[in-house]
């Protein structure tokens, strides 16, 4: 379900402003006269307190004038004396009688790309000049020249790459991405040294001018998937993209489905393996997360670490995760259905044990489960947002409230606490947080169905989920791929991880075997 772009822009929080100075003057050429351009800059940047506008005089008799514009919060201090640098660049070149430096000579030098110590950029329009200043450049205007010079002087403190906080690993690389797009792309390129690794850049948002990159490994990626991706991403430039997840809504097929259709990583090795798998990745400047699409259901049970361990162990872990998925989705509803509709299905001794704990609880099983789930969700939500020192207090209080007090005061039965706790732990065992959220949502309707129809209700609910999953598509690919439609050759890297030698013949390495679609053309 694709929303139309106008609706989306209205929801992005920034109402369209037709007559702001900065947005109208993109194509306007830089006026040749210094007072005019100074006036224009001051107009545009009115109210920007951290902007430095400095007037300069140069030439042997200081009769030439220029001025520079930069943000002192962005530009590095040792690069601010640009004008001297600009002029010094001219000294080593024989540009006529060096006694007089005229604006014509400066213009001539730069317009013909004279070699200089630091690269300068020629700007022709006011818009470019504004953008340059906002990008942390030092922009110099010369009197009598309808161009401006820009030096890159951007200097921002940024986080050092640390261990991936959201995806720590025992074995394998520990490095994570950071909030700088160029650096992230650079890391990926250094890990995947292939001319087939393509990156395309988009700038999104009139106000934020956010740099977005998407990459793919040509030859591995399916042509139709890439075409579909490009079609969907085409109008993303109109919106303000503040984080990688904003892109998700452009890419995904169904915004209302609880199931995620893209996955995220902060690990370059995961991204590289996704690229090799024929996935498309997208990055946004200012966010460390890498979006990987199209996301297939089974991929949400995979971590890149699976391939670093021995095959038997990895296969067991995959089964464990599948099992965790089923527990997290169905355990509370199954308990409700069994205890309120099908007590004959509980083994007798277990039933007697449950009866012992259940007697005297004032609520029906459904209400009891909802209360406990509510407590649990509350604790989880509180724990995430709190600063770390207070976070531990929450868990202590939570353990006391849920674990002890609720049972002792006979508000909840110990069995229900086990059920809820097991459900919570099982949902943590899933490597992708997105998928855990999907289960969290679906658990509640299943519980309601179980409380009204018992086992039949669970069956119907599960069937509905299954129907939804089988009709869901991710970038045009079936979401349940490998299982439905069945692809035997791909099954060796789904629930069971085959040894790598067998995987060499798997679709991931399609391009190795057949040389990919391009290889076919050559042959």
């Amino acid at each position: 379900m694709r929303k139309n772009p106008t609706y989306r822009q209205a929801t992005s929080g920034i109402p369209p402003q037709p007559e702001t100075p900065s947005s109208t003057s993109h194509a306007e050429p830089i006026p040749g006269l210094l007072p005019d351009s100074l006036q224009r800059m001051k107009e545009i940047f009115a109210g920007c307190g951290d902007l430095e506008v400095t007037a300069w005089q140069y030439g042997p008799k200081l009769q030439q004038s220029a001025f520079s514009v930069y943000f002192q919060t962005l530009a590095r201090s040792d690069r601010r004396s640009f004008l001297r640098e600009t002029l010094q660049n001219l000294v080593f070149h024989d540009i006529g009688p060096a006694t007089e430096v005229t604006v014509e000579e400066v213009a001539h030098f730069y317009e013909h790309r004279g070699a200089s110590a630091s690269s300068a950029e020629l700007l022709a329009t006011v818009g470019e000049a504004v953008r340059g200043a906002l990008d942390g450049k030092v922009v110099i205007f010369f009197d009598g020249w309808n161009k401006a010079l820009a030096y890159d002087a951007l200097h921002l403190e940024q986080r050092q790459p640390s261990e991936a906080i959201t995806e720590p690993s025992v074995q394998g690389p520990h490095v994570s991405t950071i909030e700088n797009l160029d650096r992230n792309v650079g890391v990926l390129r250094s890990l995947l040294k292939s001319p087939n690794l393509k990156f395309e850049f988009i700038t999104a948002g009139e106000q934020s001018n956010r740099k977005i990159a998407y990459g793919y490994l040509s030859g591995s990626v399916k042509e139709e998937t890439l075409a579909e991706f490009k079609r969907r991403i085409a109008d993303v430039g109109q919106a303000e993209i503040l984080e990688t997840s904003y892109l998700e809504e452009w890419i995904e097929d169904s915004s209302y489905s609880p199931f995620p259709q893209v996955r995220y990583t902060e690990r370059p090795d995961t991204a590289v393996s996704a690229l090799l798998d024929g996935k498309i990745i997208a990055l946004v400047n200012g966010s460390p997360s890498i979006l990987i699409c199209p996301g297939i259901f089974l991929e949400f049970f995979v971590t890149s670490e699976d391939y670093y361990y021995r095959t038997v162990f990895s296969s067991l872990i995959r089964f464990l995760r599948m099992f965790a998925f089923i527990i997290a989705l169905m355990l509370p509803s199954t308990y409700i259905a069994l205890s309120t509709f099908h007590s004959e299905l509980i083994p007798t001794v277990l039933l007697l044990a449950i009866l012992n704990t259940r007697e005297g609880i004032p609520f029906p099983a459904l209400v009891e489960a909802l209360i406990m789930e509510f407590f649990f969700e509350l604790l989880r939500e509180a724990g995430i947002r709190l600063p770390r020192p207070i976070g531990s207090a929450v868990s202590i209080v939570g353990a006391l409230v849920i674990g002890q007090a609720a049972i002792q005061s006979q508000i909840a039965s110990p069995v229900m606490v086990i059920v809820v706790a097991l459900t919570g732990i099982a949902s943590f065992a899933l490597p992708q947080y997105n998928m855990a959220i999907a289960i969290r949502i679906l658990r509640f309707p299943l519980m309601l169905l179980a409380a009204t129809f018992g086992g039949l209700g669970i069956m119907v609910g599960f069937l509905l989920i299954y129907l939804h999953l089988s009709q869901l598509r991710s970038l045009g690919q079936p979401y349940l791929a490998s299982f439905g439609p069945l692809d035997i050759s791909r099954l060796r890297d789904t629930l069971i991880v085959f040894p790598r030698l067998a995987l060499l013949r798997s679709p991931r390495n399609r391009h190795l075997r057949r040389g990919g679609p391009k290889g076919k053309q050559r042959a």
């Binding site: 205890s339 309120t340 509709f341 007590s343 004959e344 007798t348 001794v349 039933l351 007697l352 449950i354 009866l355 012992n356 704990t357 259940r358 007697e359 005297g360 609880i361 029906p364 099983a365 049972i407 002792q408 006979q410 110990p414 309601l448 409380a451 009204t452 129809f453 018992g454 209700g457």
Partner: protein
């Protein structure tokens, strides 16, 4: 949005009208663990139902006494269902029969009234399981539910364990679930066996041993323990157990004049022959056994072993003959000779059926027992502490 709204409304209606009708919380029911049926006054059936009494261990320091874990509710009625529906009147909760372990039928009732009629409810209703174990109780069945269990949660569970494990390891009683009893009762020989429960003299403990013989859905006789063992061997339902036999030439006065072997496997085949309305039955039993206790025998050579084996076989034959004589005297064909004849030739059976009881009582049995001692256990074939050569 309209179709979405109507679908949501339809689903809601569906939930509210079709759902929840059989939704019952666990604590709305009383869970029946065992039931005892007796003769009541005025020809009514007296029903004693043992309910599980759940006790929350939370907050209470004291251990709950085992006796309090079961609640006996007594009701009566002309039919069982009537008596069962009276339970909430006295108990406050509806009885839930899914987890019933045993059905105890009083001896008096079983002798006078048709067992089929009593058990019909339990097989017809959807709640009780077909695997519930019926038992015939000596005296009044209701009294057995008052006995406190040892380890199990309820005495019903204990009786179930006693029956299944007792029949498995000591083979002095049988174990027959309700559905199998129904199959036996409607077989051509119309006879079945039901395990028997009886009290110790003090009346404080119960034992499940012996086998009650049921013919035409009525209790006929109860086989003693030794006969029960032989009976199980005859019908090839002997799983494992101990066979005792006397020492060769031991003086009668000696106390320890018996030795025992553990039966590892037992296969018996029964082949009936009929000639001129005379029934002859060939019974062939093959036993593989392991020596359990030696007191007087010395197994040093193959000849010794053969002698030892024949001694066991002799003893087993004797016991089988005794058990068979019991059955013949009561004219109850529980070993299913009639069934075999029927299977062989239904036409012949039709002719024999009216006079089958007498025919069975007159039939001759040729018992052949072969015993093979496969091991002397962890020791050699001499008694403990005796010289080996």
């Amino acid at each position: 949005m309209r179709p979405l709204f109507s679908i949501a409304a339809a689903l809601l209606l569906l939930l509210l009208t079709a759902g929840c009708w059989d939704n019952h919380e666990l604590d709305e029911y009383g869970y029946v663990q065992a039931v005892a049926i007796d003769h009541g006054e005025d020809g009514l059936l007296q029903l004693t139902t043992l309910f599980y009494n759940p006790s929350s261990k939370m907050g209470m320091g004291e251990e709950v006494k085992a006796a309090q874990k079961g609640i006996n509710i007594s009701t009566s009625g002309k039919t069982l269902f009537e008596a069962i529906r009276d339970v909430p009147m006295k108990f406050g909760r509806k009885a839930k029969w899914d987890h019933m372990r045993v059905i105890l039928i009083g001896e008096q009732l079983a002798r006078s009234q048709n067992i089929r009629e009593i058990l019909d409810y339990f097989s017809r209703d959807h709640e009780p399981r077909g695997t519930v174990l019926p038992l015939i109780a000596e005296g009044r069945a209701g009294d057995y539910l008052k006995i406190p269990p040892y380890i199990e949660q309820t005495v019903g569970q204990q009786y179930k364990k006693m029956e299944t494990n007792g029949s498995l390891y000591s083979a002095k009683t049988t174990s027959i679930p309700l559905y199998e009893l129904a199959i036996h009762l409607k077989s051509p020989s119309r006879a079945s066996d039901i395990p028997f429960i009886h009290k110790s003299d003090s009346g404080r403990t119960a034992t499940i041993s012996k086998i009650a013989m049921v013919k035409d859905s009525k209790l006929v006789t109860v086989l003693e323990e030794k006969d029960s063992e032989a009976y199980l061997m005859l019908t090839d339902r002997y799983k494992s157990g101990i066979v005792e036999f006397p020492c060769l030439g031991a003086a009668k006065a000696e106390i320890n004049d018996k030795e025992s072997v553990e039966v590892i496997s037992l296969v018996s085949t029964i082949v009936p022959h009929i000639e001129d309305d005379e029934v002859t039955v060939d019974i062939d039993v093959r036993i593989k056994a392991m020596i359990g206790e030696l007191r007087c025998s010395h197994l040093k050579s193959a000849a010794d072993t053969r002698k030892f084996e024949s001694r066991i076989a002799e003893r087993v034959e004797e016991r089988m003959a005794h058990a068979l004589s019991q059955l013949q005297r009561n004219q109850v064909d529980v070993i299913g000779i009639g069934n075999r004849l029927y299977r062989k030739s239904p036409k012949l059976w039709k002719r024999l059926e009216p006079s089958w009881d007498e025919l069975f009582a007159r039939s001759r049995f040729r018992i052949k027992v072969q015993v093979e001692v496969i091991s002397t256990g962890m020791n050699v074939g001499t008694p403990f502490g005796q010289k080996e050569d």
